[in-house]
Assembly symmetry: C2
Homo-oligomer: 429 residues x 2
């Protein structure tokens, strides 16, 4: 082993940071054998030096300021595990790139919002940013896309990439309990982010989708172009009705290129119960990649946690130690195309649930209105009920979301559909 060690500066010593330290402390020889050279930590940075993290810090240098760490001349790679799309994480990554370091990060928000500028800054200095841990935790999906499937023109990428949402949806199904109850349970277990809308609002998963889409389609990362809908409005009734029809409800991300541009959606969808995505329970993640040569590849694994996320961070570090330097989004930043955000241009069948005032002709009004909007009905059921409104379920044939939205607007003016109908896309997976 004649090569010099690769020297890391690690900022952020939460669960993931401690996990990275544990791997390097427990398996230095294995890492060196695989990387072809030793991997060492020069210095670390975190908010509190004295918190017990279950790993020793005394052998490393310490910096209170992550920017100071990022610019130290005795590190080769800056590992950013602070999080957040702004503040110290952003300043430190910018400083690291400006001083000619490579960057490894698990920060999906930072890259979803500032990825193009950061990738350009890296390339201006001949450096790279690697972010395997930012998307789907321990699943090596960025590597699969940028390298394993590099000979493919990708047609669609899909993913269930927020473990908290999948946990909530599968627990609702398993227990028959309401969303609010299971949400409270997940919160008590510490599964929900401090700002819950990041999880249940779909934002965290949408960050990941924007990164996947950029790499899959060679487009500039476009988080603003993701249509986002959370799971807050999913009722136990929806879950049970969907199951009854052979579907599961998942917070599903879909990105695909159509004639009109790039479609990116993160929303609750119905997928067949017997499909790999439909069978995904609990906090597990799955990403499905579709390419012209390979057909469909599905990758399944833990989307969070110290071990899986540290595994992904370290795979980027080992790649850099080996001298493997894929550009941030798989190709030079200057060659990425500006995506045209195409809103919901891919027709699909939809699941609708609405309440209908209990008077003669009400159902006919709904059916007529849907027909006039160009939405044709595949199946419809009206349920027995004790109230003054009757629950109605409709599965449409394939239609454009625009036509459906037109119909939904019309429904509220009929006077027979109180409240807000639920409309969920049925995705062919």
């Amino acid at each position: 082993m004649t090569q010099p060690p690769l020297r890391l500066g690690i900022a952020g010593l939460g669960t993931v940071g401690a996990g990275v330290l544990a791997i390097l402390q427990d398996q230095p020889r294995m890492i060196a054998a695989r990387a072809g050279r030793p991997v060492e930590i020069t210095a670390v940075s975190a908010r509190d030096r004295n918190r017990d993290r279950g790993v020793k810090l005394d052998r490393y240098g310490w910096e209170d300021d992550p920017v100071a760490l990022a610019t130290r001349p005795d590190i080769d790679v800056f590992v950013e595990l602070i999080g957040g799309d702004n503040g110290p994480a952003k300043s430190a990554v910018e400083a690291a790139l400006a001083s000619g370091k490579d960057v490894v990060t698990a920060n999906k928000a930072l890259l979803a919002l500032h990825g193009q500028a950061l990738a350009e800054a890296a390339e201006a200095k001949g450096r790279v940013i690697r972010f395997e841990a930012a998307v789907a935790g321990g699943i090596p999906v960025m590597k699969a896309l940028t390298e394993g499937l590099a000979a493919n023109r990708m047609s669609r990428v899909m993913g269930v990439m927020n473990g908290t949402c999948n946990y909530i949806l599968t627990r609702m199904q398993a227990t028959g309990k309401a969303y609010a109850d299971i949400f409270a349970e997940a919160q008590a277990l510490g599964y929900v982010e401090a700002d819950p809308t990041l999880d249940v609002g779909g934002i965290d998963a949408a960050h990941k989708l924007a990164l996947l889409a950029s790499v899959a389609f060679g487009t500039k990362v476009d988080f603003a172009g993701v249509e986002i809908e959370g799971i807050e409005r999913i009722s136990i009734e929806d879950i049970e009705q969907a199951a009854d029809m052979g579907y599961r409800i998942k917070l599903l991300g879909v990105a695909q290129v159509t004639g009109r541009g790039l479609v990116q959606r993160m929303s609750p969808c119905l997928v067949p119960s017997d499909s790999p995505l439909g069978q995904l329970d609990g906090g597990t993640n799955m990403v499905v990649l579709e390419g012209d040569q390979v057909g469909q590849i599905a990758l399944r694994g833990p989307g969070a946690g110290a071990g899986p996320t540290a595994s992904a961070v370290m795979s980027d570090v080992i790649d850099l130690a080996r001298g493997f330097r894929v550009p941030c989004f798989g190709q030079p930043a200057a060659t990425l195309e500006q995506a045209t955000a195409a809103s919901a241009q891919v027709p699909a069948p939809y699941y609708l649930r609405l309440r209908l005032t209990d008077k003669p002709g009400a159902l006919a009004k709904v059916a007529t209105l849907l027909g006039e909007a160009g939405v044709s009905i595949d199946r419809m059921r009206q349920y027995g009920h004790a109230e003054t409104t009757a629950p109605v379920l409709i599965v449409t044939h394939k239609c454009a979301r625009a036509a459906l939205d037109l119909a939904l607007e019309g429904l509220s003016s009929t006077g027979v559909v109180p409240g807000h109908p639920v409309a969920l896309r049925i995705e062919e997976v």
Copy 2:
């Protein structure tokens, strides 16, 4: 793009070879953008120059002899798609390495039998052998193991990696037809190799398992150490009884390191119907990778076919164009350990099916004999029947295979168990 092109010599122009040519002819700019330099074909070699393959050959040099192609000074990478563990494939790969070329191959048999010697020959010249296409077709599993999960100590790898066997087993289940009927159907569809034992005898899948195990555990590839059992003795009765108990039968490869050494098994196993492996239908492949950090990762996709296999070949080629040179088995050949083959050291529950002579005390004899061998019974069923022997199903508690084999030997001497009992491992997946 200032870098010189990467120049390929491609030997073997069957389905996969034609698929590789099609990608390079259809997408030269995309490949160059991703690889950072153009990828060109200098010359090709095959048995018949004039066969119509749907791709043009006139722009490439031609060599009748693959060895002559492999040693041409104007190629950088020799792509071996001839197949076979001996003959021209082996000679040409050896010649390519001796003359300082990198090698990309889809040839699992060659590497399973001669991988260590070839890897050493490559490293002696500072070259590498890459074989993504040799294991699980289009699934980027070698990359996931050697790079994506490089920070993990792997504990177990499993896989359903022969599409023909999985097709036969799932068709038997779907149609209720006998093995012989579905085998004939698969043969008529061209799904079965010229020598069927490669497929249904489990040899092809065992080649793949030996390669996976080497990379996962850092051991010298040891095909001779794989215990192999084919699917020829699986009856429709076994499939239906297994389904009835909540299991599917799969030709499953399992490799794991125990205190006594490396266990490698390729055999029909029962896996839970609702597990990802249990849900795998038709010709699709799945590989499950378990590591100390990441937990369990499952990769699913097409295991054969022109597009998927060419996708895998080209991912290796693009890596080489990018300058990514992972050693053949993930670490230098000299550092790979000699595996101690540990035969069936991991206890498991077993499924037994036998026929019992229809006389008083017969069942008691069987139960006593199993008990004396240390095999305890979890469930037992005797079925109604019209013959002079009664079908009996037994599910054991966890036991060592050696104890079970002892019991099975004893059964034949009881005089009440005619024929050969079927014994299938139930694998926790």
